[in-house]
Homo-oligomer: 346 residues x 2
């Protein structure tokens, strides 16, 4: 394919193979950066930071200034959607999120799409501010959690290891649980659509807990709702690429890529590069999938893995990224080493 | 294949397709059973229970009495091996295991294979007792953790979400980390060999954290050490089948099944049945893979999933099991429902 004008991230997502793939890093804005910790300490709670357009814009830009990634991702959280639906969401320092759980169809009465946009309005303002402030070559990514993953937090009341509450509901009352999923599908379409109207040029759907379901559940609660979201967004905003991230999907990455309508898939660390190049990248762009702990380890192991991933995906469209988010103990100078190599083309 | 005499579990593991597949459940002895909680409360700490041949034998037998599984698995823990190597291991109520971490080659001086068997001797006595006490149709499974998974606990000092310490070591100093893996390979061979001599008829290797590594790490730290363990055990005890459980391996289940020499693979919940039947079961028996949370949910969803798994694996050798261990809140009567169906053949 001949080189096209335009932002490198958008070119890769449109299917162009670039000699130097664009890159960004999941959770590139965050605690590993001293300038983030500085802002974070001014902001009060984590939700206050997400809901301060000025500060959320600032932390979104921080990694771009340091490392010149090809894309910036809105600084926010996947639990903004339950908050927007009226569920009580709190972030406790060092403990992760705590939600007042919803575990049955009758609990859904506490939630509502009415007033959703008012409750999350600062996020849209943050998107506008970032869109204005970004360098012209940098792409702005908006995002949301996928319905299944968001539902796990809503039903468990926070993070989980075994997913007993959400699965008990989904398995025991699939129709009632389906009402929650329907509500999340609708909210997510509307939420992401507004992000696009505010300036997001690409969208990513994070299905972080896609990998804990057996195949029928994966098809029903991950693929199907994603397909509906992607369909509705494509109807409204046909030019905006959507990246899907069904983390842990294993062999079912193939079904997800073929059936949801996403424009690209983001690969977790465990997905073998050769398999993905052959099975996925022949039909759509892939994003990934360096182990984030290599940004803690650094050294030769990091260099070797960068080479392996660049080489393995060099035959088709590729966005270089991690297989999971940057971790908190990452030394910023190792991220710099990665960024220098990627900007130089490997 | 014509019906052969002998225990149903051993027949399935030798490659025979049985109309009624044998079954057992990972973590079938445990907290969900009131009779287990009763013994547990007498035993002092969790390690005291593992090291009491009388009590460990008793809790191993409890689920067999209730449900008539085709196999009993030694009641023990994968952290018995680090304990045997001299690492300090404690189980804190409600917190999981706590180990004094080893994080570099120089820390390995604290560990030693000398005295290993003395430190874990009660386990061998437990195996002998179970072997004597089991009904004649029931197969006794011995087990150990796989080196990678055991190493994660040894380096992290307990459970982990991100595996920063163990990966930093493995990536940053693969030779030093390789010394730990070598020590674990040797200890595991010797430990499992003694279990066979005490009466174990089948062995299972649990690689619970196989799914957190990129492919090169999976090959080096999961496949390769497993291959060495299997090779040595096959040389000593050629008639004893070995089941490998590389949880979360995704598409790499195929490489694991082809390259380690295991006789059968245990499948996690996310492995699609049709994929496994086509890719794995055509070359070796498969075990699995009901979502354990269906034993909390029960009802139609459970029945449907039992049918789906039985049908999907009906074309070849299959051991019915879960995709992960029985969870603590499982109602014993739902396990009874599963067991009745499986004993009746579906």
């Amino acid at each position: 394919m001949a080189a096209m004008p335009g932002k490198r991230m958008l070119r890769a997502l449109s299917g162009e193979r670039l000699d130097k793939p664009p890159f960004w890093l999941m959770r590139q804005a965050g605690r590993y950066l001293p300038e983030y910790r500085e802002i974070r300490s001014q902001a009060g709670g984590f939700l206050d930071l997400c809901f301060s357009p000025k500060l959320a814009c600032e932390v979104t830009l921080q990694p771009i200034r340091r490392y010149g990634m090809d894309a910036a991702i809105l600084f926010s959280d996947i639990l903004i959607v339950p908050h927007g639906l009226g569920q009580k969401v709190a972030f406790k320092e060092g403990e992760g999120p705590v939600l007042n759980p919803v575990r049955s169809a009758s609990d859904l009465g506490q939630l509502s799409l009415d007033g959703f946009h008012e409750r999350v309005a600062p996020v849209y303002e943050t998107v506008s501010r970032i869109a204005e402030a970004l360098p012209k070559e940098t792409t702005l990514i908006g995002f949301a959690g996928s319905p299944w993953t968001v539902a796990t937090y809503m039903a468990e009341g926070g993070g989980s290891k075994e997913f007993v509450a959400v699965k008990r509901w989904a398995y025991g009352d699939p129709e009632g649980f389906g009402q929650l999923i329907d509500m999340l599908v609708e909210a997510t379409i509307s939420y992401l659509s507004r992000q696009v109207e505010a300036g997001a040029e690409v969208l990513q759907l994070f299905d972080s807990w896609a990998g804990v379901l057996p195949e029928p559940g994966f098809r029903r609660w991950c693929i199907e709702p994603t397909r509906r979201i992607v369909g509705a967004l494509k109807a409204k905003h046909p030019g905006v690429p959507i990246i899907g991230f069904p983390r842990g999907a294993g062999t079912l990455y193939a079904a997800y890529a073929a059936e949801t309508g996403v424009d690209a898939v983001s690969l977790d660390t465990a997905v073998p590069v050769a398999w993905a190049a052959e099975t996925l990248q022949t039909t759509l762009p892939v994003q990934g999938n360096l182990d984030p702990i290599l940004l803690v380890a650094g050294g030769e192991a990091l260099d070797r893995e960068i080479d392996r991933i660049l080489n393995g995906f060099s035959g088709g469209p590729h966005v270089f990224n991690l297989g999971h988010g940057v971790t908190q103990t990452t030394p910023p100078e190792i991220v710099d080493r990665l960024a220098r190599r990627l900007r130089a083309g490997g």
